[in-house]
């Protein structure tokens, strides 16, 4: 039972609970009309202490498509936090108005604090560089829907693997499924942190390799998960210039990829995926956005305990 629970860390959910959410999302995708009024009379509060248009709109669209309503704020300046109110007090107040809330906060652990004080389910919609569980759910549903499974594949994770929280969460989440091989593609400076390698990959005896260039491995991949490489992350300009093109996916590099490989990206992208491949059937990052909304619809329903 997921009713009344909070979602703070993607690992809070068991594989069985994930399946329940994904199965519901599948049905919502197939029969959206059946769900148009399931949350009628329910209110979602979006508590966004820092702007994140993409995530907020995804949550709000999800609730509207379920027939519910939305209240909230989209920056700390327009909330009572500007007057010095604590996260705990804000969430206790909001719990008097709304049935469920999604919180984005620049400080790590703020949604956890909220969940300890809240009578309504709290969904972590991103807390600094810490966790972003609904992105992980989005990634998993996208892979499950487009590849038909969450096991037996080779996934390449490319770009900033050091600071990218989406990548860390995705590795942890996928490490619970069988026969997945990870290829970690990044410059030396942005390699995956040792603790992820030691506590997840090595500990669970999962196959992985680390490479510097996408061209070396693109032919092996079933999934390519791109992330942004930011100039300021490099220690010197020379390395940035030497490596930056290796982390831009274009037509030329895609030529050597499998025909059924899928390209994903948590978005927003800057230049790491060339627009020239947007029309390639393997480019699935905008489909991923849509799966993000569907998985949030399923999650809201499960946490509220509503059924069609």
């Amino acid at each position: 039972m997921l009713k009344g629970k909070h979602l703070i860390d993607p690992m809070d959910l068991s594989l069985e609970q994930l399946d329940q959410i994904f199965n519901l999302a599948d049905d919502i995708i197939k029969n959206p009309k059946d769900y148009m009024e399931v949350c009628k009379g329910k209110i979602l509060a979006t508590l966004f202490y820092e702007p994140s248009t993409r995530t907020r709109l995804s949550f709000e669209s999800a609730m509207h498509r379920l027939g519910g309503s939305v209240v909230g704020f989209s920056s700390a300046g327009s909330s009572s936090a500007a007057k010095g109110e604590s996260v705990a007090d804000t969430v206790k107040t909001i719990a008097c108005y709304a049935d469920i809330c999604a919180m984005r906060h620049p400080k790590e652990g703020a949604p956890k604090v909220a969940s300890l004080k809240s009578d309504i389910p709290v969904i972590n919609a991103g807390d600094g560089g810490h966790q972003h569980p609904t992105q992980t759910l989005t990634d998993l549903l996208t892979i499950r829907s487009l590849k038909g499974r969450l096991n037996d594949f080779t996934i390449g994770l490319c770009g900033d693997l050091k600071f990218g929280r989406t990548v860390h969460s995705l590795i942890k989440a996928l490490s619970r499924y069988s026969n997945i091989k990870f290829i970690l593609i990044s410059p030396e400076e942005l390699k995956i942190p040792d603790y992820i390698k030691e506590e997840v990959l090595i500990k669970k005896d999962i196959q992985f390799k680390e490479v510097e260039r996408i061209e070396e491995v693109i032919g092996e991949l079933d999934i390519l998960y791109m992330t942004r490489v930011q100039r300021e992350r490099f220690f010197n300009e020379e390395d940035y210039v030497r490596l930056k093109d290796s982390y831009i996916l274009d037509k030329k590099k895609l030529k050597n990829a499998k025909q059924d490989m899928i390209v994903l990206h948590p978005l927003p992208r800057v230049n790491e995926i060339s627009v020239e491949i947007d029309d390639d059937p393997r480019a699935c990052y905008f489909k991923q956005v849509k799966y993000g909304m569907f998985v949030r619809m399923a999650l809201i329903m499960k946490l509220l305990g509503v059924e069609k």
């Binding site: 604590s86 996260v87 705990a88 906060h105 620049p106 400080k107 790590e108 652990g109 703020a110 956890k112 604090v113 807390d127 600094g128 560089g129 810490h130």
Partner: protein
């Protein structure tokens, strides 16, 4: 050497690493007790060279779990009728509240002082705790 009377009934917290006695006095809120409490510093010790000792008279009901977090080598003797009736073996507690502060400047506790500082034991063998809010590690190898 300074003489402190032996305790007839109470607790003797022994083998405290020299210098940590006052810290433990504070953690256990011994200043709030109404009975005799002795904090003896820098006592000669074969095992440690120097050590601190705390003696608490009459009171036995003190939550000592936190001591396992501060220094698991501390020994605790419960005294009744001038005799040691129990020796408590310390273990790392599962959770410590308001004992250490999270050092992650990005943690919510860095801006909201009212929040309890809570750390959970995640790795018993290496004494690693993590902040329950931001997962920042705290290695307890003092």
């Amino acid at each position: 050497m300074l003489k402190i009377d032996s305790v007839e009934k109470g607790i003797v917290i022994d083998h405290i690493k020299a210098g940590l006695g006052m810290e433990i006095y504070n953690y256990l809120n011994l200043d709030k007790l109404d009975c005799s409490v002795a904090l003896i510093k820098n006592v000669k010790s074969k095992k440690l060279g120097k050590k601190d000792i705390i003696k608490v008279e009459n009171v036995i009901d003190i939550d000592l779990k936190v001591l396992g977090f501060i220094d698991p080598n501390i020994t605790i003797n419960i005294i009744e009728n001038d005799r040691i009736v129990d020796k408590i073996k310390l273990e790392l507690p599962e959770e410590v509240i308001n004992v250490v502060k999270c050092k992650n400047p990005r943690c919510i506790t860095s801006i909201e002082q009212e929040i309890e500082q809570r750390f959970k034991l995640v790795d018993k063998d290496n004494g690693i705790y993590r902040c329950i809010y931001c997962d920042q590690a705290y290695e307890n190898n003092k």
